[in-house]
């Protein structure tokens, strides 16, 4: 249930959707008045598991989560990462039966919104519906890029590409500036996202650091030392993110 203290909890969702379509005051007010409940989730806990009935979508208020698929051998593929302000699991909630799992990478706070309330909002406020539609299309664009990354780039390019993507998305989420950020994934999780073993990820990151493309004060902190070179190595073109913001200005 909403309360006064949390009346602006969904402001990050308003900001995110405003990227995708022009929203008027009534649209913004309608999003902010969506019924929701907040929940703290532990690291590794699931919002929804594959094949479960998904009754809610959620907005990430803090922390990180990932969408994952398990294959028959028990190996996990991370197919996308979600960060603050992003609406997670819109697809699962609208399609009812989850075709992938959503798991917390870190302890996170989320706002859970019931499926029927999202459907009602999109029918009542077409501009919001358009923004959500575009958001799912952008998610699909990111999925396509990740498929190309895992399927056709070598290890160095895969990691460089992911580091460039994190840099831009974390900047939009207000979690990184000037190419400096805390890596939201462990090496093992980076491996699950890029189809590499964690040890190979370790070696690849060390190689990028050795070549001056990135700097690391500690294993989880990233400072992009040479954006253009890293983007070139990673075959990175931000077009697929469909962001209004441009690439960060770096030295």
């Amino acid at each position: 249930m909403n309360d006064t203290a949390t009346a602006l909890t969904l402001q990050s969702l308003v900001s995110k959707l405003s990227y995708r379509a022009t929203l008027d005051e009534a649209d913004r007010a309608a999003i902010l008045s969506l019924p929701f409940r907040t929940k703290m989730l532990e690291r590794n806990s699931f919002i929804v598991r594959e094949r479960e009935r998904a009754t809610h979508a959620c907005v990430m208020l803090s922390g990180y989560s990932v969408s994952t698929k398990m294959v028959g051998t028990g190996n996990r593929q991370i197919v996308s990462i979600h960060m603050k302000g992003e609406m997670v699991d819109l697809q699962n909630s609208l399609l009812e039966i989850a075709d992938h799992s959503v798991q917390m990478l870190t302890a996170s706070k989320v706002a859970l919104i019931a499926r029927q309330d999202i459907v009602k909002l999109t029918l009542d406020r077409p501009a919001v519906g358009l923004a959500m539609w575009k958001e799912t299309l952008v998610n699909a664009s990111i999925f396509r890029e990740w498929i190309a990354n895992v399927g056709r780039r070598d290890a160095r390019a895969r990691i460089a590409h992911l580091l460039c993507e994190f840099s831009l998305r974390l900047k939009v989420a207000g979690l990184g500036e000037n190419g400096e950020y805390e890596l939201p994934m462990t090496q093992e999780q980076l491996g699950d996202a890029t189809g590499l073993t964690a040890v190979h990820v370790n070696r690849t990151i060390k190689g990028l650091e050795h070549d001056g493309l990135i700097n690391r004060a500690n294993p989880r902190s990233i400072q992009i030392g040479d954006w253009r070179k890293l983007a070139e190595v990673g075959d990175f073109d931000s077009n697929y993110l469909h962001m209004a913001h441009d690439e960060p200005a770096l030295q």
Partner: protein, 76 residues
């Protein structure tokens, strides 16, 4: 259970990571896979031969060591 530490090392490569895996056998497979992945990339990048030690440690103790090698040579 403390994580398994997997290390791949040779004269030019040293890479390691800690894994929460359910068994030593899984860790050993992961170690070999890591070395093969790194080695095949080296070969694809033009090196004729790759050899490295793949090691699994648990609780500070070496559980298993392997030599992993990959090479390519033209047939005469």
């Amino acid at each position: 259970m403390p994580p398994f530490r997997i290390i791949v090392i040779n004269e030019s490569t040293s890479a390691a990571d800690d894994h929460d895996l359910s068994s030593a056998e899984q860790a050993q497979r992961e170690a070999i896979k890591s070395a093969l992945q790194i080695g095949s990339e080296e070969i694809m990048n033009g090196k004729p031969f790759f050899g490295a030690e793949a090691k699994v440690e648990h609780d500070g103790e070496v559980l298993k060591r392997y030599v992993v090698s990959i090479g390519v040579s033209p047939l005469q």
